[in-house]
């Protein structure tokens, strides 16, 4: 059981209300995408889940106990800065393993790290520094790390946001493969993105967040069968319907923002 319950969570930064009344339950093995425009607080919500910040009101529980700080029961992948640039790919994973499984032999850690790096296709990059790796390879290594420490909950903050389309597609497939590997013990995933198609491809459920303050605009189940093949998916009626629905909800939000009494004057008007 790795059930995550977010109940009545609000978060303010100074006098600025970032998130308001978020309620959300993730069952064990759920894959939830947090979808929303930038500034909607989706990354903030992930930070609350990670324990890097605490909700102003409300609480988040994992398996019944309240989250009060960071912990290795939740593995996190950020968009950048996941890996420490002064450690090789292997050393980065070994450091995490030492925290997760203390008291083992150095060589065990190294072997385990090498195994996970191989799993994500980085067998040639074991002793390379992050600076010597491409953006996609760095994210592979970061994914290898969270799977190595085997945390039941996975928090991913736009992990593929800085990658080109092809690399991104490869990494999405890799992530799904790893997540689906063990049927009975799937990790509970929270995946932040602003990419509608990415959300549909990955998620069981998509939570759309709205702006000012961040709040849940709607939760959409994705009933497309797995494994989802990208090329087939894009042709399916249900995919297209869901995409339109999501885009409409997202745009509603942006349009209502613009409605707020603002008139856009093209340059040169009124000469």
């Amino acid at each position: 059981m790795h059930e995550v319950i977010i109940s009545n969570v609000s978060y303010s930064y100074g006098s600025n209300l970032v998130l308001r009344d978020i309620n959300l339950t993730a069952e064990a093995g759920d894959f939830i995408c947090l979808l929303g425009p930038s500034g909607c607080g989706k990354s903030t919500l992930l930070r609350l889940l990670a324990g890097l910040a605490s909700p102003t009101t409300g609480s988040i529980t994992l398996d019944g106990s309240t989250i009060t700080g960071p912990g290795l029961d939740r593995g996190v992948v950020f968009q950048d800065y996941s890996l420490f640039p002064w450690m090789t790919a292997s050393q980065n994973i070994v450091l995490a393993l030492e925290q997760a499984f203390p008291g083992r032999k150095k060589s065990d850690y190294r072997e385990t790290a090498a195994g996970y790096l191989e799993m994500v296709g980085l067998h040639d990059a074991i002793d390379k520094l992050p600076g010597q790796l491409s953006g996609g390879m760095r994210q592979r290594a970061a994914i290898a790390r969270v799977f190595a420490i085997n945390s039941p909950v996975l928090l991913m903050d736009e992990p593929f946001g800085a990658l080109d389309a092809i690399t991104r597609a490869r990494l999405q497939d890799l992530l799904l493969q790893l997540w689906q590997q063990k049927e009975g013990e799937r990790k509970t995933v929270f995946f932040v993105t602003h990419d509608v198609e990415e959300a549909i491809l990955l998620a069981n459920r998509i939570v759309v967040l709205g702006l000012n303050p961040g709040n849940v605009k709607g939760v959409f189940s994705v009933d497309l069968p797995r494994p989802r093949i990208r090329q087939e998916l894009y042709l399916k009626e249900s995919f297209l319907v869901l995409r339109d629905k999501l885009v409409t909800v997202l745009h509603e939000n942006i349009l209502s923002e613009l409605d707020g009494g603002q008139t856009v004057h093209p340059p040169g008007e009124g000469i």
Partner: protein, 300 residues
């Protein structure tokens, strides 16, 4: 043809001509050795590297050296235009340099003991203190005002008091070098901790590292670029203070060497001392650059 008529080559030939023409009665062998060594090193460097820009640079450096030597030789030896006492001949200086080398090396050992003691003491205290103060917000707010007041005091002003206060000249010098090296390392370490990208700290926090592990494996390497800047600056300060302390109160060492012979108006030896110090400083700078490159090899 272009490669033959370089400024460096023309100056090289001019120097040889000035030495051997019209007569070669007294060949300045030491000067000749230096000139040929410079030329050979330049040619070897150019042969070893394909970097056009760097090779042009090497050639230009040798040209500058040759210009100085040529002017020095012409104005003191060929035509004695400059005051003989203040501007000794290059050949005499070089011969004396070789003769004095054993004594100067012994003096250098004394100087280096002071320098290394003071500097290492500063490194051993300023670095851990800087890491902890940079990391703990409350400590920082307590210490920062003190840093602002004490940091900018030029350490040279401590010399007379340190000599009076401490039992020996050696202790006083080490103390002053320590003070001078302490602040640049401390301030840059604190800044280095501040400048670690927040994202990296988040990554460290989600791994639930113990504070000790965090400081040693994340904060220290994360602040290392800034620490290296501070440590290099501190080394320069340490050198200045070493020389200053030795000029004031030592009875051995490289600074004392120069001061002592200046008192006797032996400017030949003063110049020998200056050349020696510049070689030592160059060697140490080269060494620290290597260390820095190794420590920061992860930054591309």
């Amino acid at each position: 043809m272009k490669h033959i008529f370089t400024v460096s080559n023309i100056l090289f030939i001019s120097l040889l001509a000035a030495i051997f023409w019209p007569s070669a009665e007294q060949v300045p062998w030491y000067l000749l050795t230096v000139i040929i060594t410079v030329k050979v090193i330049t040619l070897l460097r150019i042969a070893a590297s394909r970097n056009v820009q760097a090779n042009l640079g090497a050639n230009d450096v040798s040209a500058i050296i040759f210009t100085v030597l040529l002017a020095w030789y012409l104005l003191t030896t060929r035509y004695v235009v400059l005051d003989k006492m203040l501007f000794p001949q290059p050949e005499a200086v070089l011969r004396l340099f070789v003769a004095e080398l054993p004594d100067m090396l012994k003096g250098l050992l004394n100087s280096l003991i002071l320098l290394v003691s003071g500097y290492c003491l500063a490194l051993a205290t300023a670095l851990p203190l800087g890491l902890v103060v940079g990391w703990r917000a409350r400590l920082f707010h307590a210490v920062n005002p003190l840093t602002k007041v004490l940091g900018p005091i030029p350490p040279i002003v401590y010399i007379p008091y340190a000599i009076a206060l401490l039992p020996s000249f050696r202790a006083a010098s080490i103390f002053v070098i320590f003070i001078g090296a302490f602040w640049p390392i401390f301030i840059n370490t604190v800044n280095g901790v501040f400048n670690i990208p927040k994202g990296l700290l988040d990554s460290a926090r989600v791994l639930n590292l113990k504070e000790r592990t965090l400081l040693v494996r994340i904060i220290l390497p994360g602040a290392m670029p800034s620490i290296c800047t501070g440590a290099t600056l501190a080394l320069v300060f340490a050198f200045v203070l070493l020389a200053a302390a030795e000029l004031i109160g030592a009875n051995s060492g490289v600074g004392w060497y120069i001061k002592n012979f200046a008192d006797f108006a032996d400017y030949q030896r003063v110049i020998v001392g200056i050349i020696f110090i510049s070689i030592v400083v160059t060697a140490i700078t080269w060494g620290t650059e290597r260390v820095e490159k190794h420590l920061l090899r992860w930054r591309n």
